[in-house]
């Protein structure tokens, strides 16, 4: 399965090159500084994330990669006492300035969290929630999107007969795919994933990784991971964070084989972290 993917992947890249398709920058952060009160968590971070690509953010705990991820859909604003400098753009528009409400960003930039966090509601209502809070009321439309989202999250076959069951009935891996389906339901363009598989067993993890490979055909994906192998497997680009700074970013293959900076190499080879 993995080999299939990489073959497809290679074919696609060749096709894109021959047709001269340049990957487009979808999300771009420029000179980001972020503060928790007086503590500075990000120092002058600039990073472009391309459309239909997976960008992995790696680095030791507390390096600022999750903080960076949360600035991309303004989730950082839910924490009181924080401050942000610099710009983040989505399709060239400043998400902090050119949108009236943070919720407009969040429906376009979805998020999947580390701990699977289904609502204490039915499977159906979990997926429908994002539609309901954004004012969609037509039953048949919601039905349709719920089914579509669960199918995209590769969960439909397992739950189609028990949509009205509590989401807690599902296993950990299924719950996480439900959370992905829930995020997909509002039809975002970008999906942020904060260590989406760190609490899962290897089989569930590999299903999530397969899913990410599938989803990147339609979405821009940014994923925070602690797992080097995972970053190497799923991502096209990798950004290495250390102590709030972006140390190095580049094509994943290059980052893992010929990193340009000693610190990156030390981290990737497991010398610290």
């Amino acid at each position: 399965m993995h080999r299939d993917m990489s073959v497809k992947e290679a074919e696609r890249k060749i096709a894109e090159k021959s047709m001269n398709i340049q990957p487009r920058v979808k999300v771009s952060a420029t000179n980001l500084n972020f503060f928790y009160g007086k503590l500075q968590a990000l120092h002058d971070v600039s990073l472009d994330m391309e459309e239909n690509r997976v960008t992995a953010l790696i680095g030791p705990s507390g390096c600022g990669k999750s903080t960076f991820l949360r600035t991309l859909n303004r989730m950082n604003e839910t924490i009181p006492g924080t401050r942000l400098e610099g710009t983040v753009t989505l399709d060239g528009r400043n998400i902090y300035r050119e949108f009236d409400e943070p919720s407009q960003i969040r429906t376009r930039v979805g998020m999947v969290f580390q701990k699977s966090n289904p609502f204490p509601k039915s499977i159906y209502e979990n997926v429908a929630y994002g539609l309901r809070v954004n004012g969609i009321k037509e039953k048949h439309l919601i039905d349709q999107v719920v089914e579509e989202s669960l199918k995209r999250a590769a969960l439909w076959e397992e739950v189609k007969d028990k949509l009205d069951h509590s989401a807690f009935m599902l296993s950990g891996g299924q719950q996480q795919r439900l959370c992905i389906a829930r995020a997909l339901a509002v039809r975002p363009e970008v999906i942020l994933m904060d260590e989406p598989a760190s609490a899962l067993d290897p089989i569930s993890t590999s299903r999530i990784e397969d899913l990410i490979a599938e989803l990147k055909n339609s979405f821009t994906i940014v994923i925070v991971t602690h797992n080097m192998q995972q970053a190497a497997r799923v991502s096209d680009y990798t950004a290495f964070f250390f102590e709030g700074q972006l140390i190095e970013a580049g094509e994943t293959q290059q980052m893992f084989t010929r990193p340009g900076i000693k610190k990156t190499e030390d981290y990737i080879t497991g010398r610290f972290g």
Partner: protein
């Protein structure tokens, strides 16, 4: 380097210490049991003693009685009259009326302030409101009763031109103030214990703070809020001093909320000191006490069970 010599632990001291703590813990349990046994023992003649049953059998306490020949049968609580009358219905009605008003006051106040405090108030505001509301619970009920008796009653009478100064509304409002902190505390606890991850997930889907609280937090915490209301109702039914002082204490059968009432609890408090040990009146008061005991026991048990289930649900367990 010097060798470390560890002192062997005293088995006896450990044993005694543990037992001492265990006994302390048991005392409360034993006290409840003893109270339970005592009250029921004193109420028992209602079921067994023919002399008591002559005046106050269960049927006589529950249904209309023809106390005087030729007159219409009615409900009446007049234990010291020539013909003693022990109908519980007027007291039941008074209790329910007071509790109903109290809940009408306390539910919106308690739940509303809980939502505000847990969802919308800033940290500093919250640090003021929460203790302030919980302080209401620390006010002795005699003070609340005094306030209702002297100030609230006059205000209500003057404002609405009421015939009776002390009435169900007056007692109910004061009782409501005593119930607010119970509902507030339990409901607020339930809402703040909705995990941060759930709120984050809702926000990440584009929900605004109002939607997060109404469509996510409130339903998730609903069992806790229900438990708060149930526990509050238990308090409203059992609370004595406020109703004793502020209700007028007239055992009237009436649907009106602006007439005086008399509750179960106030009846016990007012009359038990005056009765002859072991006579019918004494027995009936203990019977009322047993009813209150059973009622509040069930209410509290139900409230605890609901809260327990809520905890499991929020932690993602089903059972």
């Amino acid at each position: 380097m010097r060798e470390l010599k560890f002192k062997p632990k005293s088995k006896l001291r450990e044993f005694l210490g543990e037992k001492f703590i265990a006994v302390n813990a048991m005392v409360a349990l034993i006290a409840i049991l003893l109270i339970f046994v005592f009250i029921f023992k004193e109420a028992l003649p209602v079921f067994t003693d023919p002399e008591v049953q002559e005046e106050a059998s269960v049927g006589k306490m529950l249904f209309k009685q023809e106390y005087y020949e030729g007159r219409d049968p009615k409900f009446s609580w007049q234990p010291n009259s020539e013909v003693p009358k022990f109908s519980l219905y007027p007291l039941f009605l008074g209790t329910i009326k007071a509790a109903l008003i109290a809940m009408l006051v306390a539910i919106p106040l308690g739940v509303g302030s809980a939502i505000y405090s847990s969802e919308f108030a800033g940290r500093r505001t919250r640090e003021i409101i929460k203790p302030a509301i919980e302080m209401l619970a620390a006010i002795p009920s005699v003070v609340l009763g005094f306030f209702a008796l002297m100030i609230l009653a006059t205000f209500l009478q003057d404002t609405f031109g009421l015939l009776f100064r002390l009435n169900a509304i007056n007692a109910g409002i004061a009782l409501g103030l005593a119930v607010v902190p119970i509902i507030f505390t339990v409901a607020e606890d339930a809402m703040t214990s909705v995990p941060r991850e759930l709120r984050d997930a809702a926000i990440a889907l584009g929900a605004n703070p109002w939607q997060v609280s109404i469509t996510m937090v409130l339903p998730a915490a609903m069992p806790g809020i229900a438990a708060g209301i149930v526990l509050g109702f238990g308090r409203a039914v059992g609370e004595t001093m406020i109703v004793l002082m502020a209700s007028g204490n007239a055992a009237i059968v009436s649907g009106s909320f602006v007439e005086s009432i008399r509750t179960f609890s106030a009846t016990i408090a007012a009359e038990l000191a005056e009765v002859v040990f072991g006579d019918t009146h004494y027995t009936v008061l203990f019977f009322i006490g047993s009813l209150l005991f059973i009622f509040t026991f069930i209410i509290n048990l139900a409230g605890d069970m609901i809260l327990d289930r809520l905890k499991h649900r929020l932690q993602g367990k089903t059972r």
